[in-house]
Symmetry: D2
Subunit: 291 residues, 4 copies
């Protein structure tokens, strides 16, 4: 299939490569053109200088920071798009804005799927992402061969927005688990229990989570905090997760407290820090480090 790709960030860069490796013809566009050229040289994709260059593609992927940027490029490309084009948005976006983007694209007969991913840069590289898809069943079927090149767990969740809603809930659960574990592990440490010992047993028990199994052992305890996912972006996802519960009319005190704590963390620790550095909020309060 001829595929257009918009956004060669930490996730998009390896994902576009995998599409090409799976035999698709891939046109890549990036605001900073040098990145697109490098991609083309490294992997045999084709760099296009202007957005319109993607109009000939049968399917167009967007992989951008927020739904706002997706709206902008969709609006800019709209006059050039052909009926029947399939737009697949891998951004960690907002359900409501996705419905607006889908309506906008529908004016030109363009189909829309929201398809945010989970699995980090490692999963993007290896083509083993989880993909959460919202949109019509027929469009989902059409996109399946493309998804197959990117991930291994591909689930159609519901109408447009369902993918983004589920991703936002997933990330809010991650955020809550990360901070709750920070509260508990720091207290244990101050009471004489080494965090790695506590994690050894928690990870065999009912308190385990992705945060305790992966993030603390690999990133927090050794204080490496490698930058793979910005704190500011997770804070944004948690905001979206709360929009989901609010929109559904579900009182959600834990989601909301997590939202406020992550906003505070982003403000005091910095939007550009890695998301795992949010534990430093609790560490500053408790006067010690989890290590």
């Amino acid at each position: 299939m001829k595929v257009g790709w918009i956004g060669l960030g930490a996730m998009g860069y390896p994902m576009a490569k995998n599409l090409k490796a799976a035999g698709h013809e891939v046109l890549v566009y990036n605001r900073t053109q040098a990145k697109a050229k490098a991609h083309a040289e490294a992997y045999g994709t084709r760099a296009v200088e202007r957005l319109e260059g993607l109009a000939e593609a049968e399917a167009i992927f967007s992989c951008l920071p927020t739904s706002n940027e997706v709206w902008e490029v969709a609006k800019a490309l709209l006059p050039h798009l052909r009926t029947g084009t399939l737009w697949i948005d891998c951004t960690s976006g907002e359900p409501e804005k996705s419905r607006e983007i889908a309506a906008l694209l529908a004016e030109a007969g363009v189909r829309f799927l929201d398809a945010p991913v989970s699995g980090g840069t490692a999963g993007a590289e290896a083509g083993t992402l989880a993909i959460m898809v919202g949109g019509d069943a027929a469009d989902f079927e059409r996109a399946k061969p493309l998804f197959a090149a990117l991930g291994k767990k591909i689930v159609h969740l519901g109408p447009v927005g369902a993918g983004h809603a589920t991703k936002a809930v997933n990330n809010t659960l991650l955020a809550a688990a990360l901070l709750a574990a920070a509260e508990g592990l720091l207290a244990l440490k101050k009471e004489g229990v080494a965090p790695e010992k506590a994690l050894e047993v928690i990870n065999q028990s009912s308190g385990r989570s992705f945060a305790t199994e992966v993030l603390f052992p690999e990133r927090v305890l050794d204080r490496s905090f490698p930058l793979t996912f910005k704190l500011g972006l997770l804070a944004k996802d948690v905001r979206i997760g709360n929009k989901v519960t609010e929109g559904a009319g579900v009182p959600s005190p834990l989601f909301h407290l997590t939202r406020e704590l992550f906003q505070a963390a982003a403000k005091t620790i910095g939007e550009d820090a890695d998301h795992t550095e949010a534990v430093k909020l609790v560490e500053a309060w408790g006067g010690d480090e989890i290590r």
Copy 2:
């Protein structure tokens, strides 16, 4: 080794059996004597009618609802115990009270380990529990052969109380994850995303936890809520978890909100309901069920 066992509840019953199966001589005591007799008949242990009957044992296990009951039996047995006896408390107890119990027993030269377990009745039956141990290293070494019959993940965490503190933190993390997932899954359901679809992908993603991987699929979605661990007991553990963070001087807003929500759940849903029924608190608020 000659071992005494106090408390043949849902966990203690199969655990005492496994000690016997591993070749130890096991004396069992239970407030309701019939249970002790049944155990003796079924597994070849020896039922004792009065607490004092355990005094001859080299090691004594207690597996009771709270530290208060442990304090009571320790006080009652104290005059009969010999110097060098090892007391191992598998109750989900309180660090502070355990330190008091250890001090009490020390008067008679009795050693104390807190050794709460995780893994549920299935893990107790299979002898695959995780065991979180607090106490002196020498006592831990001495208890190792006994622990080997009960669990497969056995960790020495620190001084007396460290086991109970870690167990309480573990269970508070479980409680937080359970309710946070309930908030998110109920909202998704009301927005058109089937909970089992959402879980399918969350469980391959960064939002996963023991609650999303085991409790929701096996107990909540099918509305079976089998009674394996009472809501009132988990609420108690969460209270202990908060005592740990308070005692350590670590501000812990998520732990505390979880505490209040579980207290409210225990009051309005019932102390004797299964702990997974706590999701009904969120369901009542949101006006729908997670299924």
Copy 3:
């Protein structure tokens, strides 16, 4: 001045009367016409059957449940309105929607002030309301003689939306104080301190608030809960209060927890209960009543 009045609810009914008593010519409109006729007969105002009947007024007041209804009537009246008409919205509305309504009315040269009030039905009756005004300074000056008939504390707070934002913050503070006092008073009662004794001294101390000084003594302790302000409407105001903090980028954990608790209260106690009945949420949790 010739004044139009839309909405003769518990607040609007006496407010329109006071405008007439101050010498203004008052045209009243209500969806249920009988109410408008009764008002006209009782106070010498003029009932109009169709919204358009208000178009001749120099100033038009709206006093409706939410900004949505204001938007509807503004849209319906718009084709009939003359340039220079002043629209004054006393609804407890949303800042953002008010800005949209102001923009809509501006198309026809109509000026807009948001002017929510505080003081309850007693203050509305007596003409002693506090009025929180957002909009241009010149429009505020023009409206002053009208406000003088309705309240005694009239403050120009800022641009369009400033009145609604301040009212929403005010009501969120009320909501937080009401529930926090319920938590504390119920606990004191269970510890043997009579609520009226506790309030006697708190109301001379630093813990006092409108809730402790007025609501508990007059409505909660005697279990009368007279219906003056619906729980569902206060829950809505708290939602708006949280939109204000969110829009401003201010992490606000107490506002958010209050929001979730009021949503839960409205769901489990009922939207149509009086707002003071929100204390029953805490009472159900604590298993006792504040009296």
Copy 4:
């Protein structure tokens, strides 16, 4: 009456003076003796160098940082005290520890009242404090002439501990109101509403509290934050307020969130800052100041 006074801090210093001015014979003791001597010279009280010097008094007041210090001096004085002596503790103490102190003193036939005060240094100076009394009715009657010299609102609330419980609840309500108002006022400011304007109208409305009426106008808006009551001490009182709700079995999410936020404030802003500086926690998160 011959009265002993222990603790000449910001509150105790003027309170002891007022007792003397009312005609009582006052013996003063302070850990730093110079303060006691200065008091004696200025007001005609008698400075005693050793605690035992107070044993001849008919009534002994303690006014210390926490119940721990009261316990220490009670224990030290106990061997010297006569049956029938009345001990009045004005410390902002803990109900549970007060019951322990009362039991300790009872061994020597000494009676105990807990009698924390509210009203600040200004109220202490003017003798217009509110006094919250716990203990036996007969002891309360006996202390009334002394209380009359210190305050104007004197309420007997219940058995020993009732005074401290009520004071702690009062101060937790203050703390919650202070931070909630900070959240709202900072957001309004960022939306273009001047804090003093917002307070002008909130203080005529249902959102008003001691914090909005007194603390913000007099201490926060002008950034003076005069040191009258340490943040660390208010954080301690909020911890006690939460012990009251916990002891009573009342789920209290707002009390608990307030507790955690004040602990965080005390850790990051400093225990020795004035309590009103807790607003800086919200200001750091929101990136602006309330002025």
